[in-house]
Assembly symmetry: C2
Homo-oligomer: 216 residues x 2
């Protein structure tokens, strides 16, 4: 596949974006290991990827490989981080501070990739008005003001199923542009908002596939 | 692509398995909506998938489509559930009952797909020896016995990074065949064990891609 011109990106499959995240992690690992260049073949073998898929995914964004050398690890990593918007910090609102919300608040993977939880929203009177690790917990009444003041465009929804749609409507009305939803329900948002549902059971299903196969 | 013979499956990309989970959910939705047959094209349009990819993924497992009709929704769903090992119940051990462990314990998505948490393992003396919703919490000292008695092959690791490897070694020694790891660290397991790492920040990264693109 030819590299495509950059001024108008074609519609990029979400799975491609997802894989760019994976490639970025692989390149970080290679960089830590002192590897300076890598071919798509080597990348595929080491991380159990598909080399044709790697080349196809990258081709959406330009020509990164150098003939006879492969990819420069540091350069490709930086380029993918730029494409993924990881060359900056994103302030994030976390909605819901129950078990899941607390777990996500303390999840180290987010901050490592540039996502900083800047405000927590929870209506529990025992929580709202307090701080957690210097991050304010506010009630949903103050949500719109807080999001605007802090320039927050991304929200993580970690509330029970029953309140997920209502809280999402409030977030959208307050100008949120992207929602990461952990409540196991289908949310409705307008076309101007990116919604991503996290379904944790999908991960278990890939495991049961291998177990079921092994058992036959 | 031709359907391949069934007696020896080719190496199936993990992304294909992951997408089978997604297709199963789409088919469940169609079934609820009373749709009886669907073409790969309709499936792709309705759920924002790639129709060539759908056909290619399914072709690993046989010929499911009927010329001029497409797929029978109920039949394809049942077939995919069988392939994914979702036509039976899997007893699961949950290791770690802190914030994340509690959240996962109450996560409704697991049981809906046939994963039943049958035992919780936590060494906190305030927790071990008690029950949660009729599920026993035991200390890791009793782990091996509990896993064997209950015939558990799958474990979810939701402990802090520092103890994740040690607990995984114990699980593997006790005969666990598949581990779903939520601790943001790389675990080492032998080749006989399937390990799946859940990296929650990947989900946020697909969102930041779209935000970054929109902002330019």
């Amino acid at each position: 596949m030819m590299a495509r011109s950059n001024y108008r990106l074609p519609k990029i499959p979400e799975m491609t974006i997802r894989r760019l995240s994976v490639y970025t992690r692989c390149l970080l690992q290679l960089e830590e290991d002192g590897v300076r260049t890598v071919s798509s073949q080597e990348l595929a073998e080491r991380f159990n990827l598909n080399s044709a898929q790697v080349r196809k995914d990258l081709a959406y964004f330009g020509e990164f490989g150098v003939r006879g050398i492969g990819y420069y690890v540091a350069g490709l990593k930086a380029e993918l981080q730029r494409i993924l918007g990881l060359d900056r910090e994103w302030a994030v609102a976390l909605v819901g501070f129950g078990n899941l919300g607390s777990a996500l608040f303390h999840y180290k993977g987010f901050s490592r990739q540039g996502f900083r939880i800047a405000v927590v929203i929870d209506d529990d009177p025992a929580k709202a008005g307090r701080d957690v690790d210097s991050v304010p917990i506010v009630s949903s009444r103050d949500m719109a003001r807080e999001l605007k003041t802090r320039g927050i465009q991304v929200a993580i929804v970690a509330v029970p199923v029953e309140s997920a749609q209502a809280v999402t409507d409030q977030l959208v009305a307050a100008g949120i542009k992207a929602v990461l939803n952990f409540a196991p329900t289908r949310l409705r948002v307008g076309r101007e908002v990116r919604l991503k549902n996290v379904d944790l059971s999908i991960e278990l299903e890939t495991l049961s596939f291998y177990l079921a196969k092994g058992g036959r």
